[in-house]
């Protein structure tokens, strides 16, 4: 067996999980509270530590020390299983997303498989089980409604989610996410191709279906992660919290954090597909203007700094998208359930389909 591969993979998993994803999950909760407060002219949590920065730690202790209560007449086994199922898929999706170029010659992606985007969809579609099971096992009306709503919503929006990315793979010709990033480094980001021969009108023409793709994909991600305006499964005002009404303590926290983990992986996939992944071109004036590529392939410490810079770039982009998620949540009202379904089936599904044809026609008939 290839021990080097196994060791580096385990190191990458541990580093990405414990140094990046879990802190990011807990701090996105803080960011949510803080940003929402700012949008609503409040201060938000600002007591624990400077500017409330230790709030997630306090939250963690609070949730851990709360009484873990199992209501009577629940289906105990599934009641315990559901929170785990809610958290897991969100985290293991990140395995195929390239979050950096290379560091010490090791590619910064945990598993570079040739069915990358399909893996993302497959695992993301398993996320619904946690919610459905929680709703069913709670043996209570509101969670049940939340679970049923969630299952039909997820199936409906997976269609537009899957169809929206097809133009990208028509262009790249490969389902590997690293190829998508490499393509974008050479030809410019999907929705803003300013790198390479950026005066080429063909590329800007192609950016048009890509922007449609991006809009549909982003909205479908909103629906898949149960974020407002699509948070029907957990609508507080009508379902009293939906599928996690009956949960308390750390089990509730797992649902809560699972939603944020799904948000982070969703943002990471959007960044990889549409915003060039870890790629950030720097302007350079060595013999005329051009974009310089920073990556970890340079020898010595410059490579290390470049690799770290790429990782930082990637997560900075993810953070910007997370801010966008929060910003949208505190702007738009919730849809009615029939509106949500109609939007998914009669609007985004069709847009994504037509978009595929537009991209295919441009690729086939417009000379590059």
């Amino acid at each position: 067996m290839d021990y080097f591969l196994i060791t580096t993979s385990l190191l990458k998993i541990a580093a990405i999980l414990f140094l990046v994803i879990l802190p990011m999950v807990s701090y996105s909760v803080y960011a949510e509270r803080r940003v929402s407060a700012f949008i609503q002219d409040r201060r938000g949590p600002n007591r624990v530590g400077p500017a409330g920065l230790f709030q997630p730690i306090a939250d963690m202790f609070k949730l851990l020390l709360k009484e873990d209560f199992t209501p009577a007449n629940v289906n105990t086994f599934y009641y315990w299983l559901a929170p785990c199922l809610a958290m897991m898929p969100a985290i293991i999706t990140i395995a195929v997303v390239p979050f950096g170029s290379t560091l010490f010659g090791v590619p910064m992606v945990i598993a570079d498989i040739n069915v990358g985007i399909l893996y993302v969809f497959a695992i993301a579609s398993l996320g619904v089980y946690g919610i459905v099971l929680a709703g069913w096992a709670s043996n209570s009306k509101y969670p049940f409604l939340g679970g049923v709503r969630s299952s039909s919503q997820m199936i409906s929006y997976e269609l537009s989610l899957g169809l929206a990315v097809i133009p990208i793979f028509l262009l790249v010709g490969n389902l590997r996410l690293t190829s998508v990033v490499r393509y974008q480094i050479e030809h410019g980001w999907m929705i803003a191709p300013f790198v390479g021969d950026w005066l080429n009108p063909w590329k800007w023409l192609l950016a048009f279906p890509m922007i449609i793709s991006f809009v549909v994909f982003a909205i479908a991600i909103f629906a898949e992660t149960n974020r407002l305006p699509f948070d029907l499964p957990e609508a507080e005002q009508e379902l009293a919290g939906g599928y996690h009404t009956e949960y308390s303590s750390m089990k509730f926290a797992l649902f809560f954090l699972g939603e944020y983990a799904a948000m982070i992986t969703g943002s990471a996939v959007i960044v990889t597909l549409f915003f060039g992944g870890w790629h950030l071109p720097l302007p350079s004036w060595h013999g005329g203007f051009h974009w310089a590529l920073v990556d970890g392939s340079a020898p010595g410490w410059r490579g290390v700094v470049g690799g770290l810079f790429n990782i930082a770039t990637f997560f900075a982009k993810v953070a910007v998208l997370l801010f966008f998620f929060i910003w949208v949540r505190f702007t738009l009202p919730r849809f009615r359930y029939d509106q949500l379904m109609r939007l998914g089936w009669l609007f985004f599904f069709e847009i994504a389909l037509v978009n595929i044809f537009i991209a295919a026609i441009i690729l086939a008939y417009v000379p590059s």
């Binding site: 599934y78 040739n114 069915v115 399909l118 497959a122 398993l126 459905v132 299952s151 199936i155």
Partner: protein
């Protein structure tokens, strides 16, 4: 294709397959089927069929079984209460299944190539999405389009079937 990966996943799949049949609660059956499908997807991947394995998870575990769960919840099917067990039918059914299994095993045992190991592949990684796709849109173009029509017909059929009669 190491036995270390094959046997655990095969046993997992078979165990949960049995659980599908013997569980009284339809939700438990459906969830066992999901685990069984995940084990099957792992077996596909151990056979270097990554595309099929992922499609298996995506279609079966991600969509079909969610549909099953949705219907079970929609109809609010509870666990069957212990009705009068028809022992004759039960034993008969199991006996027929066992006879079928015996036949299958006999055929496999007499198959010469069944005792050979899998030949090695040319490369360790290859783009099987591309290869399957080329075949699908090349030699199997007509069946592929017929499948498309079939799915369309099924969609229309489902819409007609699930429409409430106007009274």
């Amino acid at each position: 294709m190491s036995p270390l990966l094959f046997w655990p996943f095969a046993l997992l799949m078979l165990m949960f397959g049995v659980a599908v049949v013997i569980n009284r609660n339809p939700v438990a059956s459906a969830l066992s089927l999901v685990v069984s499908f995940l084990g099957l997807a792992a077996l596909f991947m151990s056979l270097d069929a990554y595309f099929i394995g992922i499609i298996q998870v995506l279609v079966y575990a991600g969509a079909v079984m969610v549909l099953f769960l949705f219907i079970i919840m929609l109809l609010d099917l509870r666990a069957e209460e212990g009705r009068q067990v028809n022992w004759l039918a039960l034993i008969g059914g199991i006996a027929v299944a066992l006879a079928l299994l015996a036949q299958i095993l006999y055929v496999i045992h007499n198959l010469k190539s069944a005792h050979q190991a899998f030949p090695p592949l040319a490369r360790s990684t290859f783009d099987d999405v591309r290869n399957v796709g080329l075949l699908l849109f090349g030699s199997y173009n007509l069946p592929f389009q017929i499948i498309g029509v079939l799915v369309l017909v099924a969609t229309i059929g489902v819409v007609l079937l699930s429409r409430r009669e106007p009274r």
